[in-house]
Point group: C2
Chain length 257, copies 2
């Protein structure tokens, strides 16, 4: 397993509820602050835990967390509930492509190069879940590790979105192209606007780079299209940019129906 | 002056450069870490400071900052340069509307209700600057205060975007409507999709609420349109949602030309 990818705990009512609904197998145990008043959201957590036969323990959350320095340092709003979980299961690209074959319609993927900021990573996970894109492909080496922070900010979307890890984005993109995906890269210097592409008629992988570094040149060279989002200022925040293009694709698909 | 709105310092090469280019009058003094190697970006800062007759002092930045607990707590990457600045100058709605009259074409505004997260506020400021929207309207009471964090994350975009403050969003919206603006509110329960509106033919104010609370009901009742962004998951991050709708408006305007 890769360092830093282990999630020890997820915390907060919404993330724990989402994990229970979408991915209960990941949860080892749920801890609830003792002597707490149970509101409806907490009652729902208890019901879901019972359904999934997950042990619930009433205890002092501070005691449970005392070994998790990262979490304590962030001083998060626990909302009285944490869940100890197994690490997120990443999917292999082969398995993802196999699964996509069973899918009706075209497949849509986001590929992140050098996106190391956890806020951006989490926001993109959330937009992928919202928009109905099929997954996110990231590199082992240069992606933001999935931590409790990412899980919390993504509001649990992480449980709904297949996250594909690869040791080489370059090989993965070759593999995607062989599997009949078009690769669309975003670059400020591109000629075409992002809305001038027809997203409705192909499998595609949307390649986004970090705000500072952009996309690695070798990857950029593999792109079938490069597109830009026009800006009067500097580049947009990468998660905003990803959202704009993903939803343009969805708009085109919806209005074509 | 309203509490918490005072900016003491902005820090980092890009934010300081942006402030020098866009709003030099705000800068009182620039401090550069003594014994530092001057790269080209730092040389540009020195040139701009000279042009604008702003005093530059070589000193220990830690010493300068010792009274700014907020900034020190954040432990930011100062990149060897800080600028002491006057508070951001907010614009009055009257003045904004007066200025917009001189403008060619229609006026486009973002109105934020209850958006208190500084990351989101900064990202929206940046998208407003990038998209060419004309300003942001926020309430005195319930908006995220503009701090060094907001300034840093917005990459200095804050100097290019008129920020309009009002003590009553409700009155401000009435005033906008009188000035021939259409008010478009976003709401998950809306019937129409955001892309089903024609943004090209009117002045409009895009009203966005916080992720938790949404838009205050009294404001929602004043909206001429309500629109949604379809989501398979929970609501989108508010800054992503704002970006998607702003750029849909820009797309329509660009493609209509």
């Amino acid at each position: 397993m890769i360092k830093n990818q282990k999630i020890n705990f997820i915390y907060g009512k919404n993330p724990v509820t989402e994990a229970l609904l979408k991915n209960p197998k990941r949860i080892n145990k749920i801890y609830i602050q003792k002597d707490l008043f149970f509101d409806n959201r907490m009652k729902k957590i208890l019901d879901l835990a019972r359904e999934n036969k997950i042990v619930v323990k009433m205890t002092s959350l501070k005691k449970i967390l005392q070994n998790d320095e990262e979490l304590l340092k962030q001083n998060p709003n626990l909302q009285g509930v944490i869940a100890s979980v197994s690490p997120i299961e990443y999917i292999e690209l082969d398995d993802f492509l196999e699964k996509q074959k069973e899918k009706e319609g075209f497949s849509k993927l986001v590929v992140l190069d050098n996106v190391s900021d956890p806020n951006n990573f989490a926001a993109i996970i959330r937009t992928v879940a919202a928009s109905g894109f099929d997954g996110i492909l990231v590199s082992n080496h240069r992606a933001a590790p999935i931590t409790s922070t990412v899980e919390k900010i993504s509001s649990g979307a992480i449980n709904c979105v297949p996250i594909i890890k690869t040791s080489s984005l370059s090989c993965a993109i070759d593999q995607l192209k062989k599997a009949d995906y078009w690769v669309i890269a975003t670059q400020m210097e591109a000629k075409d606007n992002y809305y001038e592409i027809d997203y409705t008629d192909m499998n595609f992988a949307l390649l986004m780079g970090s705000e500072g570094k952009g996309i690695t040149k070798t990857l950029l060279n593999k792109a079938d299209y490069t597109v830009k989002i026009k800006s009067n200022f500097e580049s947009l925040n990468v998660s905003t940019a990803a959202g704009i293009i993903m939803y343009e694709a969805i708009r085109q698909i919806e209005t074509k129906k």
